[in-house]
């Protein structure tokens, strides 16, 4: 692998991992609320959370661009008050990967939480446990494999993200170029051999992520 290939692979892997870690607490909280609470309008919240899964990624990217751009409500505030830019930086990559993989994390984690018997949580409360202790000592350990599988799926989704990322962060070599973006660009430029090398790396990374997820789910099923 050339230095450039290493750089792209390393950047893609760490920004995908970091985005997964950042969305994890929000994903856990959202999944727990969806699994354990009912309220009027819950289905609207569920639909909103799932939207990035079904919407064209480019459309999601456009929404992010409008929100986070210098003339957008969030991006404008950050630029004016903190001199902080998101669009066309690695932070833009991070946010678009997080937004696009969030629904997958929530979906997998929610199922894992739903499989934990609420009776176990109730009895833990009769034993004097606070809600936080019940979550940390009963719910999370029993759902852990599903949570980890969800994290891996989210990571894998982030590895392959293209549409939203190119809208929000562009494809700046050495700064925002991920494997997907670099493959697209090299095909556009007719550099097929380079594109295939990057493709091979992407396949290996994605295979490892999904395989690990499958192993975890299988262990969960046999337990």
């Amino acid at each position: 692998m050339s230095g450039e290939e290493w750089q792209i692979t390393w950047f893609t892997a760490w920004v995908s991992a970091l985005s997964t870690l950042i969305i994890l607490p929000f994903g856990l909280a959202t999944a727990w609320v969806l699994a354990r609470r009912d309220w009027r309008g819950k289905s609207i919240v569920e639909t909103l959370i799932a939207l990035p899964l079904v919407m064209p990624p480019v459309a999601t990217g456009l929404i992010l661009l409008k929100l986070l751009g210098r003339r957008g409500p969030i991006g404008g505030f950050l630029h004016d008050k903190l001199d902080f830019d998101i669009i066309f930086t690695w932070r833009g990559v991070l946010i678009s990967l997080g937004v696009m993989s969030f629904p997958l994390l929530v979906r997998s984690t929610r199922v894992a939480f739903e499989e934990v018997s609420p009776r176990l949580e109730q009895i833990a409360r009769t034993l004097g446990a606070s809600d936080a202790r019940v979550f940390c000592t009963i719910t999370l350990p029993l759902a852990l494999r599903g949570v980890v599988a969800g994290m891996i799926l989210a990571f894998a989704r982030a590895l392959g993200e293209f549409g939203a990322t190119i809208m929000v962060a562009g494809n700046i070599p050495g700064q925002t170029s991920t494997l997907s973006l670099a493959i697209f660009q090299s095909v556009q430029l007719g550099q097929d051999a380079y594109a295939f090398r990057l493709l091979g790396i992407a396949v290996v990374l994605a295979f490892l992520a999904v395989w690990t997820s499958e192993l975890l789910l299988r262990r969960k099923g046999t337990k």
Partner: protein, 225 residues
């Protein structure tokens, strides 16, 4: 023990649970067919369900008063609960299950100490085992010990012997009697077996479709039946 269950109203799937009783004996059987509302009543006492209306007082402590907006959280009620499915934590060892709610300093005497409770229920040798490896009777005793180790002021037992065969039942009943006598533990004991009422209970409530049909001494229920 004095337990007031007054103005209780809880809509369930096919009927409304409506209860208004005062319980003064040590062990009260809640007797009735499946689906009569017995478990829901225990859940209300433990604070696991929110009633439409209720006034629940254990000794001098009001636990629930919907009129006065009192709802003591489950974790602060000091009520032990052994549900029908036992709800042992499958990812924890027997010892970890037992120590989950144990309050070592709460008991003024050694009655509720880990050593004493595990000795009375004869589960000391199971200490390091996984709960998933235990037999039905062992699980039953671990669930009882786990509830006892919180030093509860009231123990709720929801058909604790329902899943056991006759031999195992005969072996577990003496343990329950020891808990009653040795720990002087007040209990609400849900069952639909008269034999258990006879062996363990002082008083009985007969409940059907969410309504109390009869209340009186356990011996009278036996004669009546």
């Amino acid at each position: 023990m004095k337990l007031l269950l007054q103005r209780i109203r809880l809509p369930l799937a096919s009927f409304v649970l409506e209860v208004d009783v005062e319980l003064n004996r040590q062990v009260t059987a809640i007797f009735g067919p499946s689906g009569a509302g017995k478990t829901s009543l225990l859940d209300l006492v433990a604070g696991l369900r929110r009633p439409q209306s209720a006034f629940i007082q254990l000794n001098d402590r009001v636990l629930t008063d919907t009129g006065g907006s009192v709802a003591v959280p489950t974790r602060l009620r000091e009520i032990g609960y052994v549900p029908q499915d036992l709800a042992l934590f499958p990812h924890l060892s027997v010892r970890q299950n037992l120590l989950y709610g144990h309050k070592p300093g709460a008991a003024a005497n050694h009655l509720f100490s880990y050593e004493h409770v595990t000795r009375v229920l004869e589960i000391e040798p199971l200490d390091q085992r996984a709960v998933t490896d235990l037999s039905g009777g062992e699980k039953q005793r671990v669930a009882l010990a786990r509830a006892l180790l919180t030093h509860p002021r009231l123990l709720l037992l929801d058909e604790p012997l329902a899943s056991l065969d006759q031999n195992l039942k005969a072996r577990i009943v003496p343990y329950l009697a020891r808990i009653r006598d040795e720990f002087q533990m007040p209990m609400l004991y849900v069952t639909h077996y008269l034999g258990e009422v006879e062996a363990l209970c002082d008083e009985a409530l007969v409940i059907e479709n969410g309504k109390i049909l009869w209340q009186g001494p356990a011996v009278d229920l036996l004669k009546k039946s």
